[in-house]
Symmetry: C3
Subunit: 263 residues, 3 copies
């Protein structure tokens, strides 16, 4: 599986696979290529019964900054539905997040630096999250007139309603320590791989079938439904097609102008 | 909008409005007049697009002590449905609480002192809550045979099930610090206006439409439904019509006798 | 009510009853006899209006270690449905847990030592939990290929999704202090009876009808439904009938062999 990806670095261990988001020039923003490649790797691991642990990592200093604005902006040149339509864009992101929470392997995210917007969705959907102390977590969507619509259900599941609402409304970053208190992060450590090793020593005792059962069962014990996920995709698409939002994003990309300038 | 209210003080700023609950002789208890006036002010602000921040405050030492027992008692002289019926009393309180959570402006409560019973509902329904260290929060309803039925859904949303259940069952006050840990309060500060200023510096960057979208969308991401709110009103009315509850309240108002005296 | 039970010690006070789980040779594991006797005691207390407080306790060092594996193993000699069928085994456990959360008396669990697996369900379903500092809480089910399926809904209600998921997936114990932070425990104390006395001083002021109303109403304010409880029983029965799980348990009982040995 190794080596042949445009947006990812993939490294195989004896019973694990490490997927490193690898778009440093775009601050590890998520584009359609990354989502497709991530799904392709996950598909392949399903065929290898030895692979029981999937590690998701970012670059030093930046885990993931969310959906790629350039792609979104390019899409606005065409009919919006072309890039943010069904099965692509929003729909593809949502199904990838959901998939992580149901994948019959342990999914561990290691965050070292900034996790923003859609990047928080990857974190919230992971079974276990280890962050370095310098990590920061923020939902910046509202500044652009967008919402973290697809992140919200899984973020609320992890941190509760009020913390998710607060992060959305203030758009202010929280520290690794605050994220740990809120259960967005399960461990804070200078040496995440040591923590990962200790965790795996225990969790590797579980059968793959049991990991699958736990994840599927816990979904039934909470209020996320397919209907809620469809609403999340619809709301994302609705906002991405809003002329004000399109102008906000275009102005930023072309003129580094923020929506609240000249107000 | 300023000046002409019986139960409120209303002060306008350039892009904000401050509503101060002003029934100090009744410990800032909520009566029908207060709910009507509060709704009237909210209606008016909706017509002024410059008004983007609504601050809810109480008196020094007492934010709000909940529904006015005298009004409830007076109502028991007439058929109960007259005061605690549809659109009045319980129904009016519930719709006001709900309205705060959907209002297309930022709602900030500043608590300096006691918040009790129905007063906790105003707090729980606010987007952001800043409390001074001497503030205290308690649900005293169960002592009278009542329930914080209409407070519960929004309190649970903010603090989780167990903390809301615990406050209801023990009726014991929690401190500002405990309320902060539980997310009932977002900030504890000796100087709430400084915190408000810092918060607004950030949140004022959001379009009004975005604040509206965030609040409406987060409602869809949680388990509060119209049906749950109707149940809350029905349970409140059921208990307010209970002869034991009526006697408990009447005995207290007329003889300062508590329900657990002589037991 | 005192004295005549095989698996419990029952002690009556003037307005309370203390039920001590008493199978020390089985580490206070839950078997059908214990569930039947627990329900019989609860039935009897309902007939005594003076009894307003029910205390649930374990042995020093061990509160309860969950469902009895020997009984489960013996059941596998017969058709599985014989022991883990409707109204028995899983169904009986689930209805007992549910009952605790609706019982028109205050239910306080005092934990001094280990609470595991199904034992956590008793804790999570209690209205109030006081634990000594040496107490430990763990969900070991997944190590055997099982799930804490019937514990999960009530555990999530108390501690939130992520903490319940984390305990299930890692199977690692958490300390009394961590359990307190997570709201699985309401108080940590070297002298639980002192805390119980202080609590009762306050809660005894509530009418029995009010305690009943609070518990019934809060159930309506959360996402646990009968359908969810039926799913929990079905999932438990499904896993208990799984040949891999049966072998895991039999190997342990007969040869002290763990599922992850020789892997």
């Amino acid at each position: 599986m190794s080596g042949s990806y445009e947006t990812l670095l993939v490294e195989e261990g004896p019973e694990s696979i490490t997927i490193t988001l690898n778009r440093p020039s775009s601050q590890n923003a998520i584009d359609t290529a990354m989502l497709n490649e991530l799904n392709a790797v996950l598909d392949k691991t399903l065929k290898d019964p030895r692979c029981r642990l999937i590690v998701l990592a970012g670059q030093p200093g930046v885990f993931c900054t969310g959906m790629d604005f350039n792609e979104l902006s390019a899409a606005t040149q065409k009919p919006v539905s072309a890039a943010v339509g069904q099965g692509q864009g929003a729909g593809l992101y949502m199904s990838t997040i959901k998939r992580l929470t149901l994948e019959p392997r342990l999914i561990v995210s290691i965050v070292d630096g900034r996790a923003m917007a859609g990047g928080i969705g990857l974190v919230a959907a992971s079974d276990w999250v280890i962050a370095t102390p310098r990590s920061q977590f923020s939902l910046s969507e509202a500044l652009w007139g967008l919402l973290p619509a697809m992140v919200a259900p899984y973020l609320i599941r992890r941190v509760g309603f009020q913390t998710a609402f607060r992060m959305t409304l203030t758009t202010l970053p929280i520290s690794a320590q605050e994220a740990w208190t809120a259960h967005l992060v399960d461990e804070v450590s200078e040496h995440p791989l040591d923590n990962l090793r200790r965790l795996w020593l225990r969790v590797s005792k579980l059968e793959t079938a049991t990991v699958k059962n736990v994840k599927a069962y816990f979904r039934e014990m909470w209020l996320i439904s397919e209907q809620m996920e469809e609403l999340a995709v619809a709301e994302t698409n609705r906002l991405a097609a809003d002329p004000v939002v399109i102008r906000n994003i275009t102005d930023y990309i072309e003129f580094q102008k923020f929506p609240w300038d000249e107000k």
